[in-house]
């Protein structure tokens, strides 16, 4: 089961110093805490978790925008340290959640899409226009939007522009950070379809960050679930959605509200407490919200249990395995 990894993080941690207030010093916030994740070439890996779980920090680390405190990022097997930011930029590009803030309102669409070409001085300036039109065709926008400004476009159109900008350098990996959650339902499906088409045509690799599990299930081959800076469960999408093993994954899955009028609102049985990432709970960081919490969970952090391609970090699994 050896797959070539387009992108891999090995035991990456990222710690921020958080100011506690005047004269109180700082405290460590482990935004990402010893995460290892492999993104196989040509595959879609989904990363799910609630806000504040560290998924955006992980995305920044992958994009080279944030230096990890420890650990290693590997691009096609070689360490990130040997790459410059410009080099990383040509291989990995992001698509952001909010197409209203991700496009500079003072620039024309043509200028936005061609920015990577200009920065990296790819090809002759005479070819840039042609390339921009090519990209507009590719993402399904009429060519005349090239002269428009972002404020003239709808949310869906803007997101297409953002995709065109991300793709113009032909990167290998696209990091989609909640690419559709700011869009209307009817537009969301168009963008998801577009992302699927583009992946097949261009052989792209996606990291799909989302809190919408239905979207992740639809798009991803493999899914990692993140909670308070740790990946608590990782498995093939089909396995994870059919047989989740971590209680947190189960809770997340049960919170997906499918449009089924015969079901009520699920009771996730997660308490109201949300742990403070500066002051994480002892033992398993999920134990205060866990319905299946045992004594050992309060004292000892669980070790990852690997069962084939399925990884979970939970004492329930340890108990079952032992």
């Amino acid at each position: 089961m050896k797959e070539e990894a387009a992108l891999e993080v090995v035991d990456v941690s990222c710690v921020f110093r958080v100011n506690q207030g005047f004269m109180k010093g700082t405290k460590a916030l482990h935004a990402v805490n010893g995460v290892s994740l492999k993104i196989p070439k040509g595959k879609v890996v989904g990363l799910v978790g609630e806000s504040g779980c560290g998924k955006s920090t992980l995305a920044n680390i992958l994009l080279g925008l944030q230096k990890p405190t420890s650990g290693n990022v590997l691009y096609s097997g070689s360490s990130a340290d040997s790459f410059s930011q410009r080099h990383i930029a040509r291989r990995i590009q992001p698509i952001f959640q909010d197409p209203y803030s991700s496009l500079n309102a003072t620039k024309s669409i043509k200028s936005i899409i061609s920015l990577p070409l200009r920065v990296h001085r790819v090809g002759a300036p005479a070819d840039w226009d042609r390339k921009v039109y090519e990209m507009l065709d590719l993402v399904g926008l009429p060519r005349r939007v090239a002269q428009s400004f972002p404020s003239q476009l709808s949310g869906g159109q803007r997101q297409r522009v953002a995709i065109a900008r991300a793709l113009i350098m032909r990167p290998e990996v696209i990091i989609c950070d909640e690419p559709t959650s700011a869009l209307d339902v009817s537009v969301q499906s168009q963008i998801l379809n577009l992302l699927q088409d583009l992946r097949q045509e261009l052989g792209l690799t996606y990291l799909m960050i989302s809190h919408n599990l239905a979207v992740v299930e639809h798009m991803a081959d493999r899914v990692a679930v993140m909670y308070l800076g740790r990946i608590v469960e990782e498995a093939d999408a089909a396995t994870l959605f059919r047989a989740p093993s971590h209680p947190y994954t189960k809770a997340l899955l049960s919170s997906v509200l499918t449009p089924d009028p015969h079901l009520g609102v699920p009771d996730t049985q997660l308490g109201t407490v949300f742990p403070n990432p500066i002051d994480p709970p002892s033992g398993c960081s999920f134990h205060p919200r866990c319905a299946a919490c045992m004594d050992i969970c309060r004292e000892q952090a669980p070790q990852p249990q690997i069962n084939g391609a399925h990884m979970a970090e939970c004492h329930l699994d340890t108990a079952a395995a032992g």
């Binding site: 899955l253 919170s255 996730t268």
Partner: protein, 335 residues
Amino acid sequence: MSAEKDIVLDVQNLKVDIPVSAGMLHPVRGISFSVARGETLCIVGESGCGKSLTSLALMGLLPKNAQRSADRINFLDQDIQNLKEREMARLRGVKMAMIFQEPMTSLNPSYTISNQLEEVYLRHISSNRAEARERAIFLLGKVGISSAESRLGQYPHQLSGGLRQRVMIAMALMCGPDLIIADEPTTALDVTIQAQILHLLAELQADFDMAMILITHDLGIVARVADKVQVMYAGLTVEEGPCEAVFDTPLHPYTSGLLRCIPVPGKTAPGQPLGTVPGIVPNMVGELQGCMFRNRCEHATDVCETLPNSATQLANGHAFTCRLSPDAATRSEGA
């Protein structure tokens, strides 16, 4: 059956017009609904369909330049169209409560939770501070906040988003309202918290026997919590009816189109293209005629250009506004 229902709010032909530089904008063009005690009405639609302005129009909170008109807006058997601002404010505080999308901006950051909860009560119900405090503690317990008494002294920024929304709900309940209008109450929250809050709302609604209008863009939420559904498009109701009927047999092409857009684990095949509704919401300025969905509709014909907006009524209260006959609509849905 319907005679026994205790109708809390009855709205007939509500319209909102806003003058803009290019002419008159018609964001809400005549929608009617009623909601009874213990009933949840969901108004669903995409951005720009007029759902939020509808809720603001009900509360009398429209922007200054907007004009509201309606054949009737009866709240607890009283027409509230001509109420003075003072009477309306009292109504808003006591009988009608609103829960907004963003709990951080709707709570005042410079007052403690107890201040904000008790203030509503003290202003409208009674000036007894002990009573107000007791009610606040009772309600915080009701909305699932443990150690309510210690929470009372905290400020909004000390609470997480989910807790803040719970406080907002407690605040809305302080005076025992008959109607709750919740405008995208969970959009800013994480999925697990969203499920919890919706669960809580449903529970409280049954407990206190209130009517609830929930406004959202999320069909998943609608399917799970609604008794009645009202699908809005371009300022009009395109389909309405009991929740099961609308979701099981959507009749308007817009409703069925939207439902096809949503990936559903176990139903839509992973990796396969999702359904789409091409195009965008039309411009709502000036004289509007015919079916406004026609430029995005696969069933559109010339007839739709001039079609009067009359609904086809079905036996179970299910109605939709389209030239298609119910049979044709279901058939096209199945195909």
